[in-house]
Symmetry: C2
Amino acid sequence: MPTVDVHTHVYPPSYITLLRSRTTVPYIRNFPDAPDSARLIILPGEDAPTAPGTARGRPIGPEYSSIAHKLAFMDAHGIAASVISLANPWLDFLAPDDAAAAATAINDEIDALCAAHPKRLFHFATLPLSASAGAVAAEVARLASSAVPHCRGVIMGTSGLGRGLDDPALEPVWAALEEAGLIVFLHPHYGLPGNVYGPLAGEYGHVLPLAIGFPVETTIAVARMLLAGVWERHGRLEVLLAHSGGTLPFLAGRIESCVAHDGHLKKEGRTERMRSLWEVLKKNIYLDAVVYSEVGLRAAVEASGKDRIMFGTDHPFFPPLDGEETEWLSVKTNYSAIKQAFDGDESAAEAVLGGNAARILKLDL
Amino acid sequence: MPTVDVHTHVYPPSYITLLRSRTTVPYIRNFPDAPDSARLIILPGEDAPTAPGTARGRPIGPEYSSIAHKLAFMDAHGIAASVISLANPWLDFLAPDDAAAAATAINDEIDALCAAHPKRLFHFATLPLSASAGAVAAEVARLASSAVPHCRGVIMGTSGLGRGLDDPALEPVWAALEEAGLIVFLHPHYGLPGNVYGPLAGEYGHVLPLAIGFPVETTIAVARMLLAGVWERHGRLEVLLAHSGGTLPFLAGRIESCVAHDGHLKKEGRTERMRSLWEVLKKNIYLDAVVYSEVGLRAAVEASGKDRIMFGTDHPFFPPLDGEETEWLSVKTNYSAIKQAFDGDESAAEAVLGGNAARILKLDL
């Protein structure tokens, strides 16, 4: 069974040009104290003027936009096919009037990249979320048509139309996704407010926002969808969660218990009609295997099922620090977690490495 | 082997009097729209004037302060001994001049309650953290003496002396705890800023702050201690983490990977000298078993070891909503998780239910 990477990003050339044209986050710039290194600044607060060069964003090279680099990375890591997606923050920051055309252009640009590499590249498309629910639903319908044949779902952040994924204004979007049968790849970007990391956070590089802020953002977003009843109304809506669900497999029990013990929810009559998070994890949610440990991966498997977990790399993020290794530590760690979690169950390992993705995303490999 | 509850709280009578005397969080009050129900308001923002009665804090009755209620709860749930602790927010809010005397008085008051019920009650004491590191260290030394014979450790929030647990000003406190051989029971209280839960959060009761804010607060606090090198300097410092480590067992792999891939940390020379989180989990950290699922509990066991996990209830929080059941759902859920996680390994289940606590906390049962 070929290995499939479902969590792998690209900023196509037109998006790089867009980032280079900007002067506020997100943007790409060469800074005076590190003039030889173009830095990609995407996270809120990453461009604090007091941050030294190595704490500000990350170096950006051709691996972020070049499909040749993507294919070389895939070959070096035994990856047969990749389902590529625009990386965060997608088009969230565009002016409403620009978003719809930009989404169509980017989605067509990425679909053409996939067309040039048949059976090797597929993609999750991008939505014009700063426009309107109607514009988003229209692009969803287009993505499901033969106009965008390599599209296998959409990637989405947690801000929705600006007010989060529990926003009732998203109803037409969820309905359109359900109707189109397109999976939502839910991915964090906004993290947590910087002050939660304390006054010394600047000394810790990006560890706390990336290691904790990202997965917690995903966790909160899904909990809000659950509490708002999104899956009660859209029982066929399927969501692939980045980073093995953030922290959901571990916290699902606590979330369920807090729901069951909340006097206010009970008085409002919400408790009974709310769907069980455990059931949603097994029926509506898929998880990637980007969790960097067999401990986390086993919890993900127990929460969602070994037929619902899919290998990923997060390429081109988390490259080797010295830039020398062909085989990336971040990828090796996730391969090793799969090997350990499925020791003695070769067919489950193969399913997670590629079989699940091929079946769930209908990939012709 | 008797069952021991290491996560069980009490607000002794003097603390209840203190809360009733206050008019800002934390406090106890009867509100005009629910005059018959005294409400305990302890979490930040829980007293929003727009919140309806059932969304504001929680009803408080004698179960929060009465040892007779604690013992009846223990009897109803087969708990032989409890290591009681003052519940959040402890003495964090006291004026610096008042804190030291209040800590001594409360610790002596709770120790006397334990003395009245030999072999059934022990306690984690409270520190005067709003005072000074010196005052805290002095109380730690007193707690280790024969003056407070039933003390088996200290309970602590994540704010430390006001700037978090990575604050260098805490060095004398960590040193005193190490010297005294007292375990720190690290417990959340402050959660996350309310805006992370979105504009509809008021409709979801306390679910998001309790189910996600609490465990994430613990996770961030421990990550900050690790990044600040607390365990490099205090190799014997032992910490018991509430709620099975927040989310640490699940996120440890991601945290380790983010450390290993952080260019800034590497440039600063921190990466090499930092202790592995996996190693700290197995050598310095203990976890309670308050995680409400066998999925979470298995991850906790894999992260820290079955000899380092200890049963807990979080009593008197999470009572049955209708107030009728003798056996609490929240406790049954955690008992059931232990039964399922250790199916076929009776000795491990007994260790988690009581043996580990007896050994680690030196309880004469």
